[in-house]
């Protein structure tokens, strides 16, 4: 019998944490959905779900919106990705930088701005109506949700697809040209199928994100969808209403189904065909005419993609803005209001997200180390469990917490556990753990084992090796993991909405939502939104800078073999 060593204890600790804050809450949700009042197993709640017209409608709406948004996002992303990879022009850089911008703002913030720009009496429709007497129903009902989500999430497809396209060996295309294929047929038969893995992965991600999103439908008043229904059931009918749990289960099932499907489709199709020393697809110079067309088109897309940001910015400075293409006047008053009324929100965001990101990096590094550097039995389970959090919508996790820890008091006080901000922070940490774990794994994989062996052969103990060799070399990846966790947690709304019990606990994301509820609050809400965007953008830039600096510093240029 082996004595329990440090790694084993650490593994058990992590497992315990994940059990209490991930497995247990989700299990509770499933149990609640499948059991009746006396604790017997039953499918009755699901029968009820499919008998209620509102539930069925919500179900179909959610599916329809998620599918349509994925397709719409693909329509935006595919040509952009193809342009960047195929042609040699400066617009490629523009696409890459601006294409990621939508992700740094919570989608629901953009929803408000888009309503002002593309809504029934928004800028665009006012102008169109004046000039041509027509209006575009872009923001009507579910269309609005689809439009907002597609604009927000298309970068997932863009980024994945671009990577896939870049990994195609140029010879693949040349072989087809050599055998007589070209143009559209070449794209359809060779290039697109080879880039399929990235495309499918991106599509699945968009589908899951849209299916789970709570903030956007709520802000746009589209409550006849699954996520808003779950929220309304739990907050308005109460914790004992089984419908909330049934919806939660359905959401998890669909998330897992979409991911399973994408893995299934991609099975055995790792098409990274570019080999060492090979050339990527040949890039072509655009002719002058083509250049103008390409830039025009990119400009149009960018205008569309950046309109939420522009809208929020205008809104934050607008004294009055209604029934007019542009605000009637400009003021700084909203920013003053924000700093006066809610400095707490800023510090709450820093506190929760900072702690959550710190926990993520700690857990991520530990799990990465256990998996890659120890031979612990069942160590891969930690990875699988932590990654499973990807399939759990924030809303569902929050519902699980509320149900699991209902009535539990903080030891030594009479404060309810569910009323503390601790759960908000933990929810952030658990939800972002998969991303942080990936960064840490990647970072550790890049540290060659021989570097640690060299330290060991010089007499360093395991712990000393970790501290003096591994951690310094991993620092870039860990930092990237921290920043990604931090900024994505800062824009998380669905778990926040469920878990915030009083306004003094609210972080910025929730604050923006609260402000946006009333017409008079839109200005300060937008101002808070702008602050969030600036913070997130700065964070992204800082992490990028730090990581590339770290890579430069720790890279040894080996002589070519």
């Amino acid at each position: 019998m082996q004595r329990l060593g440090g790694p084993a204890l650490a593994a058990l600790g992590i497992l315990g944490l994940l059990s209490v804050f991930l497995i247990l809450p989700i299990a509770t949700v499933f149990v609640s959905a499948f059991s009746d009042a006396r604790g017997q197993i039953t499918l009755a709640h699901f029968a009820v779900f499919f008998q209620q017209p509102l539930m069925l409608e919500s179900f179909y709406n959610s599916l329809y919106v998620a599918l349509s948004a994925s397709v719409a996002a693909a329509l935006i992303a595919v040509p952009l990705a193809y342009l960047t990879v195929r042609f040699q022009f400066r617009g490629a850089l523009l696409i890459q930088t601006l294409g990621v911008l939508p992700l740094i703002m919570p989608p629901f913030v953009g929803a408000v701005a888009l309503q002002l720009i593309f809504g029934r009496s928004g800028s665009v429709n006012l102008i169109l109506n004046d000039w041509f007497g027509v209006t575009l129903p872009l923001m009507e009902g579910l269309n609005g949700v689809i439009f907002v989500e597609a604009l927000h999430y298309f970068p997932f497809i863009l980024m994945n697809l671009t990577v896939s396209l870049r990994n195609i060996d140029g010879a693949m295309e040349e072989a087809a040209l050599n055998l007589g294929a070209r143009g559209w047929r070449l794209f359809i038969r060779i290039i697109f199928p080879l880039a399929m893995p990235g495309f499918v992965a991106g599509m699945a991600l968009v589908f899951v994100k849209v299916f789970d999103d709570l903030g956007t439908p709520l802000v746009l008043g589209a409550t006849n969808m699954l996520a808003p229904q779950a929220y309304l059931r739990i907050t308005q009918v109460g914790m004992d209403d089984p419908m909330g749990y049934v919806i939660s289960v359905m959401m998890i099932v669909f998330s897992i189904f979409a991911m399973w499907l994408s893995v299934r489709v991609l099975k055995g199709r790792d098409y990274s065909t570019l080999q060492k020393g090979g050339n990527a697809l040949q890039q072509r110079q655009l002719s002058k005419g083509e250049s103008i067309l390409a830039y025009g088109w990119i400009g149009l897309i960018m205008l569309l993609v950046l309109s939420p940001h522009l809208g929020v910015l205008l809104l934050s400075f607008a004294s009055v803005w209604s029934f007019a293409p542009l605000p009637d006047g400009y003021t700084l008053a909203h920013y003053a209001t924000v700093f006066e009324q809610s400095p707490g929100m800023l510090s709450n965001t820093l506190l929760y997200c900072g702690l959550a990101a710190g926990i993520d990096v700690l857990l991520g590094t530990s799990i990465a180390y256990l998996i890659l550097r120890t031979k612990l039995v069942a160590r891969h389970w930690l990875d699988w469990i932590a990654s499973a959090a990807l399939a759990i919508p924030g809303l569902v996790l929050a519902i699980g917490y509320l149900r699991t820890f209902r009535g539990v008091l903080v030891p030594g006080t009479d404060v309810l556990f569910t009323a503390t901000w601790f759960l908000i922070m933990i929810a952030y940490a658990i939800r972002r753990l998969p991303y942080a774990l990936r960064s840490c794994m990647a970072a550790l994989q890049q540290v060659h084992h021989s570097l640690e062996e060299a330290a060991a052969s010089m007499g360093a103990t395991r712990l000393r090796t970790v501290r003096r060799v591994m951690i310094p070399l991993m620092a870039g990846g860990m930092l990237a993991g921290f920043v990604t966790s931090f900024i994505t947690a800062a824009v998380e709304l669905s778990a926040t909405m469920m878990l915030v019990t009083k306004e003094s606990q609210a972080p910025m994301s929730y604050g923006i939502y609260l402000y946006m509820q009333s017409t008079s609050g839109r200005g300060p809400g937008a101002a808070l939104g702008v602050l969030a965007i600036v913070a997130v953008a700065l964070g992204t830039y800082a992490s990028h800078w730090l990581v590339s600096r770290h890579q430069r510093l720790t890279q040894i240029h080996r002589p070519q073999g």
Binding site: A171, A175, L177, N178, L179, G180, A181, R189, Y271
Partner: protein, 372 residues
């Protein structure tokens, strides 16, 4: 099938300000198996890709069957190419890969089926039609790539380092298969390689490229026996080079002087043609001989070098040796010049030791005079 010729006339190509190909002139006769040999960066692959239509020339003409095709796009050239890494499409089965060119040519279903079957049979892969490229071995992938290309009955077949991704034994086997297939189909074939052994064993004729310039064109024997310059001499096999100066130029002989003052009379036919015209008294030249053409004996009387009518005999010291099985290569220092000698190994023979005093003997008939 009609056999066609390929001709490059004054072909030049540059990437930006770097000239990659300079004034290439080549004529490849119909049905010939032609090798482009050169080190990496010599421009050989660039030339091949230019013929395929993936690079466009700056000046000059590219004629196939007497017609200039330099402005014809790649997909209309009917010039088949087998890529170095095969470039099989991983998302298609062997059958679909092979049928691709016919589908693009809108060949009717029945005819297509027949032709794909025939070609798969030709390369011995009938049983693998429904496999994906990822499920095949290197040699099988190579055959699929070949089948995919020959099925369109290209006018010219281009092979880019076709054997470099295979292990040594398989390479020899595929080399013979490739040659047999080419002979059977009679397609004019151009292949690129950096491996002189591969070029010499397969090619009817070959061209050696260096820095984007064709150095020499000829049969493998031509290039081995009468290399035109130092580069070709060293790239096609190994070559000993001894520094000497021209002492005297006679009607059909010349006398060269080595560092130690020893003189030697050599026939003018041994001088490379390009050097012959520029030959003058006092010029530095290289006296060259292949390592296997030099022989080695013990030097018991520590005698001086002599220049006899038939061979040049020089004293020296063994500084290093490499036992290679069928032969031993000695590195002998003679009057501060190093000479390589390959001596066939006989059963039970003990090689000369390092520091042994030896006499080396170069038969004058095997000597070539090249420009420094």
């Amino acid at each position: 099938m009609k056999k066609v010729s390929v001709e490059c006339r004054d072909v030049s190509l540059s990437y930006g300000t770097t000239d990659v190909l300079k004034n290439i002139n080549l004529t490849i006769t119909p049905g010939e198996f032609f090798a482009l040999l050169g080190p990496s960066g010599s421009g050989k692959s660039t030339l091949l890709r230019l013929i395929a239509g993936f690079n466009s020339l700056k000046t000059g003409q590219l004629l196939v069957d007497g017609v200039d095709i330099s402005q014809v796009p790649a997909w209309q050239r009917d010039i088949g190419m087998v890529f170095q890494n095969y470039a099989l499409w991983p998302h298609m089965t062997v059958w679909d890969n092979v049928a691709f060119g016919l589908v693009e040519r809108r060949v009717a279903r029945a005819a297509l089926k027949q032709r794909v079957q025939d070609v798969l049979e030709l390369v011995g892969l009938t049983d693998y039609a429904q496999r994906y490229p990822g499920q095949l071995s290197g040699g099988q992938q190579q055959r699929v790539a070949l089948a995919r290309t020959v099925i369109i009955e290209p006018k010219v077949l281009l092979l880019d380092e076709p054997l470099s991704n295979l292990d040594k034994n398989l390479r020899t086997q595929m080399r013979q298969e490739l040659l047999a297939l080419q002979r059977r189909l009679g397609i004019t074939t151009i292949f690129v390689t950096h491996d002189q052994e591969e070029a010499m064993t397969t090619a009817d004729r070959m061209a050696v490229l260096h820095h984007g310039v064709v150095q020499q064109i000829g049969t493998p024997v031509d290039l081995f026996d009468t290399p035109i310059n130092r580069f070709v001499a060293e790239f096609v096999g190994s070559m000993n080079k001894l520094n000497a100066t021209v002492q005297e130029i006679l009607a059909d002989h010349l006398v060269v002087n080595f560092l130690d003052g020893m003189a030697c009379t050599i026939a003018k036919t041994a001088v490379s043609p390009s050097l012959l015209n520029a030959l003058r008294v006092g010029a530095s030249v290289l006296v060259c001989a292949r390592p296997h053409q030099v022989s080695l004996q013990h030097n018991t009387q520590s005698s001086q070098g002599t220049s006899q009518v038939s061979s040049l005999v020089l004293p020296g010291t063994v500084v290093a040796k490499e036992f290679m099985g069928q032969q031993t290569r000695y590195f002998v220092l003679s009057n501060s010049q190093q000479v390589m000698i390959d001596q066939t190994h006989q059963l039970g023979e003990t090689p000369y030791a390092v520091n042994a005093q030896v006499m080396i003997s170069l038969p004058i008939s095997n000597i070539k005079i090249l420009d420094t």
